[in-house]
Amino acid sequence: MNDISMFDIIGPNMIGPSSSHTAGALRIAHLAGKLAPAKILSVTFTLYGSFAWTYRGHGTDRALVGGILGFLPDDERIRDSFQYADAAGLKYEFIENTTEKDIHPNTVDILLHCENNRTIELRGESIGGGNAVIRRLNGIDIALSGAYSTLIVHHKDKKGVLAYITTVCSGIDLNIAFMKVYRKAKGDSAYAIIEVDSDINPSIISVLECHDAIINATIVPAI
């Protein structure tokens, strides 16, 4: 983790009322929106723990919808995000799960239905101070904070893929700060999550996707 900055203390600038229930929730949904493979048509949020009990009073619901729409934590439109979603043709629903106990108290599962029948599902945890972590992506346990510019490469667990990815990164002079690989099982679907210090040139995507074992690659800008 980064060393503490004075703006972690006097900040974040955010729409209230709660850094974990509002800003952190928005952050999870914002990352989900960036991971969507195509235009998002509808979204289902399943809320657990404290999220499930207090989401209306904390504006967690509006923050989640605002995050999907790409709003940042200090965006004044968050309060009216339902209207913005309606105007954008985005459908949304909330499911409360108060029975699951063995889970982080501020957890949300997000299921996105996108154009061309494509879907994506993920689980996020709001871990305090407006920070959040994506813990699961399409059934694979991962860890993604969004604190850095991130390259997410969905691939088949196969020899040589990672060497190819790092070669492509160094080819465009991209310095890797952190890199971790998560897989379902040996030889199965996997994600390489690569956090870097600078912005990522979008041209890297098509080069990566040339490789037989790479299903797709996504850039998530730091928030």
Binding site: M14, T54, I78
Partner: protein
């Protein structure tokens, strides 16, 4: 240049003959390699948001999303303007403003978490009131915010500012300690007086529990921000008189952390104890105590 506790911070201030604000600014620009102009701009922006929030609370009709608070700062401001306030001009203004920022926060308005959203009223309350009462330039207040940030950093690094971990003493208590140090610097106090003021502030409300009604950042959080603001001013005044704290800030932070962890979980943001379980509080939460004006 870096420091990780109050002792090191004071050594740096004494060696370089600089105030805490400047030591914190150097840590940000030197150790964390941030651009000095950008740092200044970001803090100016944060202070603008604080002032805006106070302005909104005093001029707009706000009702919280949970329906339990809204309009209190206007009521307190009316009392103050009618000359019926009993706390004196600075304290009355500071507590009115602190309460107002919590209304903006609870109605999904823009605030600066300082250090948390639930304690976001304390620092703007104290600093905006001081600026108005003493006719201070923004640039001077920005320096005081660096000092506040230094204390908040020491607490975050060595303890916690999360109510779920340390109770309200970790949220409003930390905000109060930060504001106390900032105010002491504004009034010409030395670095060691600033940290003594912070130590007084933390210890004065040691043990304060986090017991939000309905799990929402409304009651008793709003009034606790007023207490945090007044406690900051009281603590700054004690330190400015030359009274030294027997317990240095590093020990006060450690004490606060230990007390926080020994609080029962029912009194740490779970809404299973304290005010949250008072029968009338539960009722207010379920019925929306304050109805929006139609």
């Amino acid at each position: 240049m870096n420091f990780t506790n109050g002792k090191q911070l004071l050594e740096i201030c004494s060696e370089k003959h600089i105030p805490i604000s400047q030591a914190m600014f150097l840590r940000e620009t030197d150790y964390l390699e941030q651009d000095p102009v950008e740092v200044t701009c970001k803090m100016e922006h944060a202070y603008d948001i604080m002032k805006q929030a106070i302005h909104r609370a005093l001029t707009e009709d706000l009702i919280s999303t949970g329906g339990m608070i809204g309009g209190e700062s206007k009521q307190m401001n009316a009392l103050r303007k009618a000359g019926k306030n009993i706390c004196g001009p600075l304290v009355s203004k500071a507590i009115t403003y602190a309460v107002g920022v919590l209304e903006v926060n609870a109605s999904m308005g823009l605030i600066v978490a300082a250090p948390t959203a639930g304690s976001s009223g304390v620092i703007p309350g104290v600093l905006c009131a001081a600026q108005e009462e003493y006719n201070m330039e923004d640039a001077v207040i920005i320096q005081a915010l660096y000092t506040a940030a230094a204390v908040g950093y020491l607490i975050t690094r060595n303890a916690t500012t999360a109510g779920a971990e340390g109770g309200c003493q970790a949220e409003v208590g930390s905000a109060s300690a930060m504001a106390a140090a900032a105010m002491t610097q504004l009034m010409g106090g030395t670095p060691s007086q600033c940290l003594d003021a912070a130590s007084f502030a933390l210890i004065n409300i040691l043990g304060l529990v986090c017991d939000p009604v309905g799990g929402l950042v409304e009651i008793p959080c709003q009034n606790r921000n007023a207490i945090g603001a007044s406690n900051a001013l009281v603590s700054a005044e004690i330190a400015l008189s030359g009274i030294q704290s027997v317990v240095p800030i590093d020990e006060a932070i450690e004490v606060m952390y230990r007390v926080g962890r020994s609080l029962p979980v029912t009194l740490r943001e779970t809404s299973q104890g304290g005010t949250a379980m008072a029968p009338s509080a539960c009722h207010a939460c379920q019925t929306r105590w304050k109805k929006p004006k139609s």
